[in-house]
């Protein structure tokens, strides 16, 4: 593997907040881009405080989400609402290759951060826009979040429910991070266009479109009126042999005895109920399906009597197919995850390991991340790179434009 990272030399302005857009900038930084995060002086990106504030985030003393969304970035604290900040921003825009923006359209207009405001400053710039719901239409101005725009609006949560049950749950930033990969692809297509034509461009995506894409199979079916499928809850299965069972330690096992024509006898042995094999109620596949609830009533207490690990051991030696429902607590030490390059060591003692972006390249490895920059940590250094004098920097600070 050569050391030249594919995005080395690329200057990226991350003028965005929260997760999907900053996560795209992270992936670019992982592969060598120089990412400058432009954020409000003081509090900075509100995402910096999610680990303390958001009810859906696990509690920790260390700012773990920032290792994902702020790593390998330099922070420039600039108050874009102040007139004095504008020339600094414009100087950066003139030098940048990529600029990532996720303000809702009205805020962009107010801050003069729309593509039409920016393009005249740098016609070679790839301007990357993330919105909740797209650039036009009745809801374009609505701030969009992962749970509302990606999961709720796209039909994923409704589709992810058991018959009669509540909608499915999404995890914090789950759709944001998937969307980030789309932004990366969009930016790379913009850079290719620049190589081919010498011209900059607008590229972008929306959380809604990404949720709809992820839910694409179901939505394509819905669009031609296909009858949508509901999922039976585990206590009312249509087939008791391909169903979820709770183990003694409140974990779940996905039983996958699809070939019960061949495996029925083995299965009865394995679960310690050999007499079920000759039970007149369950003699063949049709009977077993027809009496799925009765069969479930026989099987469920058996699975509930042993722990997940015990069942895993029993089933894996007998050829009874089952699916593992993993837990995050186990995955972080999963040898296979290490082989797949999913986690990486950092040089940040507070957060010694992080999650890699999922892109693997034979010719380059992602950069090792250190401690994410504090708000404005690199403000002066960046301004000096732009040839600002100490006096000018002081003046900007006094005006409150620079933090």
């Amino acid at each position: 593997m050569s050391d030249a990272l594919p995005l080395a030399g690329l200057l990226v302005l991350d003028v965005s907040t929260f997760i999907a857009a900053p996560a795209a900038a992270t992936a670019l930084a992982d592969y060598g881009a120089d990412v400058i995060k432009i954020e409000a002086p003081g509090e900075g990106d509100p995402h910096r405080h999610n680990y303390k504030r958001a009810a859906t985030y696990p509690r920790s003393e260390s700012n773990f989400p920032l290792q994902l969304d702020g790593r390998l970035k330099r922070s420039l604290a600039l108050d874009l609402k102040k007139d004095e900040a504008r020339p600094v921003l414009e100087k950066l825009i003139r030098r940048a290759d990529v600029m990532i923006v996720n303000f809702p359209p009205p805020a962009r207009e107010r801050l003069k951060l729309r593509w039409e405001d920016i393009e005249p400053l740098n016609p070679r710039l790839v301007y990357c826009s993330l919105t909740g719901y797209g650039e036009t239409g009745p809801d374009r101005d609505r701030p969009g979040f992962d749970v509302t725009a990606y999961f709720g609006r796209s039909g994923i949560l409704d589709a992810a429910r058991y018959e009669g049950g509540p909608p499915g749950l999404s995890l914090p930033a789950q759709g944001d991070r998937a969307t980030a990969m789309t932004l990366v692809a969009a930016i790379l297509l913009g850079l290719r266009h620049l190589d081919q034509t010498g011209k900059g461009s607008w590229v972008g995506t929306s959380l809604y479109a990404n949720g709809a894409w992820a839910n694409g199979t179901t939505l394509a079916g819905a669009a031609i009126g296909a009858k949508l499928v509901t999922r039976e809850p585990p206590d009312r299965p249509r087939n008791a042999l391909t169903n979820l069972y709770r183990t003694r330690d409140d974990r779940w096992l996905q039983l996958l005895v699809v070939r019960d024509d061949r495996l029925w006898a083995t299965f009865c042995e394995v679960i310690g109920r050999p007499e079920l094999f000759s039970d007149a109620r369950f003699t063949d596949r049709e009977e077993r399906k027809r009496r799925a609830l009765e069969l479930h009533a026989e099987i469920a207490p058996i699975f509930a009597a042993k722990s997940y690990t015990e069942w895993e051991k029993i089933l894996s030696t007998t050829g009874i197919p089952f699916g593992v429902i993993g837990r995050v607590v186990d995955v972080v030490d999963d040898e296979q995850a290490r082989h797949a390059g999913i986690f990486a060591e950092t040089s940040n003692p507070e957060v010694p390991r992080t999650v890699n972006n999922p892109i693997r390249l034979g010719f380059a490895t992602p950069r090792v991340s250190g401690t994410p920059a504090a708000v404005g940590q690199n403000s002066e250094e960046i301004l000096r790179e732009l040839a600002y004098s100490e006096a000018e920097i002081d003046a900007l600070k006094k005006a409150g434009a620079l933090g």
Partner: protein, 403 residues
């Protein structure tokens, strides 16, 4: 908006993959102009039959999943187990820019389709590999599926359950399609690398890696020893004002009230529960939190009395924002889904609308979807393009290597 050629025009892509994640990446490349050749075995990609084979797919007369995952591709049938087919495949590889492969490693070895094999034929080739669990390690040879590798093994499904409830329900191909965007990004990075260095490359991603990337917040939290308890079910929420409720017509809506002091009275008005405004049990936010189950029961009973449409109007009238939990069948006709470009028209008579990929570019528009190919529909034309004579093609057909 389009002002120039599609960014991937002229790019030759061999899609030697099956099911969804890898073929969907090829779809995205095709949407942006690439010439995608789908190489299939004599039985064809099993995704051609998945709508019938999988109980989780909505059923239809139209093979919508196949159209969605193979639009704008051409199909050639090569029986790679036959030596004659291999020579023909090498001709295709010689002329290709990108080869997408998702066979598990042992099959790649058997078919001589590992990166080293393909590189020998074409050193400038970009070889894009999709696996379930990575390229090495104890589970590298396991076929990985979206439900098992992206959702179950990663810990997503376990984390997506309500306290005491069963695991979450993944929608068909939901993780596959998200993974496709990471694969596209990796291919585009390699194209950039090739433009700079003239070298081909191996790139890839795994379903497990993408699952963990999408649940990066909880994975990163686990890496520092922080865990999120399972979400309490809707009948005993942490906050009744940040909870989901079922309406009379079995739909769900999500209250997301953060500024509870400001919105408490408007909410009670909108719900027809005005007496609650001054009810001492719920006078302050701490009171409402302490009695969240009691409050949730009152709200739940009220929501159950009227249909969704009633509540949508009533809440909007009192300026109480809420999250929409769309049903999949609502999305294709959602004006905003069209505005953000997610739902587009096709040139497929039996499937007039489909889902576009979520990338948007100012300088180009995605190609309209044309029907997915029949098995081997373009075998002859493709072989002639890479220089085989009519005679050679006829011989290959006679040997059964080509169909």
């Amino acid at each position: 908006m389009p002002e120039s050629a599609l960014p991937l025009q002229g790019l030759k892509v061999l899609d030697i993959s099956s099911f969804i994640a890898a073929p969907a990446a090829a779809v995205v490349l095709g949407d942006w102009g690439a010439d995608v050749i789908k190489v299939e075995g004599p039985e064809g990609d099993p995704n051609r039959r998945i709508m019938h084979d999988s109980s989780n797919y909505p059923k239809s007369e139209t093979n919508y999943p196949w159209h969605m995952d193979s639009r704008n591709k051409r199909s050639i049938v090569l029986d790679l187990k036959k030596p004659e087919a291999r020579a023909a495949l090498d001709r295709l590889i010689e002329k290709a820019d990108v080869l997408i492969c998702n066979f598990p490693p042992p099959v790649r070895d058997k078919l001589k389709l590992a990166y080293e094999d393909a590189k020998r034929v074409n050193p400038k080739l970009i070889y894009a590999s999709l696996t379930g669990y990575g390229e090495s390690g104890p589970d590298r040879d396991r076929p990985g599926f979206d439900a098992t590798a992206y959702f179950a093994r990663s810990g997503l499904l376990d984390a997506q359950r309500y306290e005491d409830g069963p695991p979450g329900v993944p929608g068909p191909a939901q993780g596959d399609r998200a993974t496709a965007m990471a694969l596209v990004s990796s291919i585009l990075m390699a194209l950039m690398h090739r433009m700079k260095t003239g070298e081909g490359a191996w790139v890839g991603t795994s379903l497990l890696g993408n699952g963990l990337w999408s649940c990066g917040v909880i994975a990163q939290a686990a890496l520092v020893g922080a865990y999120l308890p399972h979400r309490p079910p809707p009948e005993r929420p942490r906050s009744a004002l940040g909870n989901i409720y079922r309406t009379a017509d079995d739909r769900w809506l999500q209250l997301t009230i953060v500024r509870t002091d400001k919105l408490w009275a408007p909410l009670c008005e909108a719900m027809g529960l005005a007496p609650l405004i001054d009810d001492p049990r719920f006078a302050t936010e701490p009171d409402r939190r302490a009695r969240s189950a009691e409050l949730a029961a009152l709200l739940s009973a009220a929501f159950a009395k009227q249909p969704y449409e009633h509540w949508r109007k009533a809440l909007a009238h009192h300026q109480v924002t809420f999250g929409v939990i769309s049903r999949p069948q609502d999305v294709p006709d959602d004006q905003q889904a069209v505005a953000c470009g997610a739902v587009v028209e096709t040139k497929i008579a039996e499937m007039p609308r489909t889902l576009s990929n979520p990338i948007r570019l100012s300088f180009a528009e995605q190609r309209a979807a044309h029907p997915a190919p029949a098995l081997g529909q373009h075998s002859e034309e493709i072989l002639r393009e890479v220089g085989l004579s009519a005679r050679e093609v006829a011989d290959l057909k006679a040997s059964g290597a080509v169909k």
